[in-house]
Symmetry: C2
């Protein structure tokens, strides 16, 4: 029987939503501004009003009995058992734990699940994207930070207290740079958009390299990770060096995930994943060097497929019976 | 209803066995020499004959209907789905995959499960030892190498192809020493008995340190990990330095397991675990430095409780319904 689920992706700028079938088809999508400056309670109200609007939309209202639940992917601390969201990054005035599960269930009468945004994206890819049909999926999202998710048989692996999958904070060099998380040498410090921009800026500042990035930043324009990707695609040696470093450290982390979790596939999404093999080949090379028992540890590394839709698709999966 | 399970721990020197209740009680134990020099088929026959003997023993024969199965923990490559064991370390002439599950099931008419010895030990600790009642347990065994296991809700986590949990091959320094597995900077290279003995030998060879180990090895006696532990307990500075280094790198690895898996407890067994807090405090210090979101990641580090019995107890758990 067809099931429908409403997935909501809470971002700093936009709230995106989609109604997803249990075959992974999005029957309609919505996108509204978050208006985070209005604070947590107002944002929760906007999300809840959006759910009401979705339920009344012609595509959904005619199939109301097929709607099995609501899933929410959010930044910040999400306690998926209690159903609360605390301090989502980029949304000010949201310090306390908001019981979003309770609020939604009381208003809409639909089972509601919340999880962190990296877990939602990973779940979306595992169920309906690059990890479709695979038993154990490790997903990384290379954004401002490095998000992670472990998905086992179509379910997010949460660990004992709900905070498993923080793969961006895997240490890849015990003497490495300090990380915002309080740790040291986390892979996020080498492979996030921030880390990539920072290392490129350092190399440009040395003044010893010819590079598009030198030209593009001559007028004081700050170097962004996006500029690095653009230059790398043009075979710019400095940009390629920055990407190689990110890829090598990602490869150390991914090798560790392979020996610990023996996943079938590692799915990489987010901005830097647009580089494809230019980045992934460095990861694969480290894995070849590091992961033993190779025939048993054959793990594919591939690019995420759902792009911007991963967040709400995965959120919807929280409420679907996918397998 | 009481269930009984026969657990077999295949070692290089001894085959140990126990009959375990689903409450974790060993109602009797057996220990026979492996006689590995006779080769794989002979060893399998010895194990199988031991099962027949156990089934005929008075303690078991009277409760024959309660016996639910046989579990086997073995070194080497164990394919737990196919039920085969290939090339167990320390047992010569055992190159091919032996279908031990099939052999045992045909002869004894009991469901039989095989798994690798580190997984069996970890499962034993998780079900009936230091991890009893905990949802996610990470277990490390510090022996000649460093074995690992991830146990979730009383079941070994095997990953997509059965080779998850090889935690000793977590890279803790990408520029570290080469490992026997083909990797680089694996935690096994810092924290195994071999690594501990090797580093102590290096420090002694420098000739700059006063130490019991200098005295004890003056006549050419090779330094063993056990000698290092004995000296460390006597507050020998050189030995303490060796232990501190092993503990720090173990702490890096354990921190990585915490952010990835969010376990409730990390159980550490094997020779070096006898040092207790002398070793564990270094691990805990690294975790405090490295693992963020601390209230959510409160993970206990504690010593394994089952000692020599962990292997057959855990093997028995493979065939029991523990939860």
């Amino acid at each position: 029987m067809e099931q429908l689920s409403i997935g909501i992706d809470l971002g700093g700028t936009y709230i995106k939503a989609g109604v997803i079938t249990n075959q992974g088809k999005a029957i309609r999508q919505w996108k509204i501004p978050t208006e985070g400056q209005q604070g947590g309670p107002a944002v929760v109200r906007r999300m809840s009003d959006l759910v009401a609007e979705i339920l009344e939309s012609p595509e959904v209202a005619s199939k109301r009995d097929s709607v099995v639940g609501v899933g929410i992917g959010s930044p910040g601390l999400v306690d998926q058992r209690a159903g609360t969201i605390t301090r989502p990054v980029n949304i000010p005035n949201w310090e306390d734990a908001v019981p979003i599960k309770k609020i939604f269930e009381e208003r809409h009468g639909l089972p509601t699940q919340a999880d962190n945004d990296a877990n939602a994206c990973g779940l979306g890819e595992a169920c309906f994207g690059a990890g479709r049909g695979k038993s154990v999926v490790v997903a990384l999202t290379l954004g401002t930070g490095v998000g992670g998710a472990i998905v086992v048989d179509g379910k997010v692996f949460h660990g004992s207290r709900g905070y498993a999958g923080e793969l961006g904070h895997t240490c890849v060099d015990p003497e490495g740079p300090p990380c915002a998380c309080g740790g040291i040498g986390c892979v996020e410090g080498y492979a996030s958009a921030n880390a990539i921009a920072r290392y490129a800026t350092e190399l440009v500042a040395q003044g010893r390299h010819k590079s598009y990035l030198v030209d593009w930043s001559r007028d004081g324009t700050p170097i962004t990770s996006k500029m690095v990707y653009e230059a790398a695609v043009k075979q710019d040696p400095l940009a390629l060096r920055v990407i190689a470093r990110a890829g090598r450290y990602l490869g150390v982390a991914v090798s560790n995930f392979c020996v610990a979790l023996n996943p079938e596939v590692v799915v990489i999404g987010g901005g830097a994943s647009a580089m494809g093999d230019l980045l992934f080949d460095h990861i694969r090379r480290e894995m070849e060097m590091r992961v033993y028992f190779s025939p048993y540890y054959t793990t594919e590394v591939c690019r995420a497929q759902l792009g911007e839709d991963a967040g709400f698709t995965g959120a919807a999966c929280l409420a679907l019976t996918v397998r």
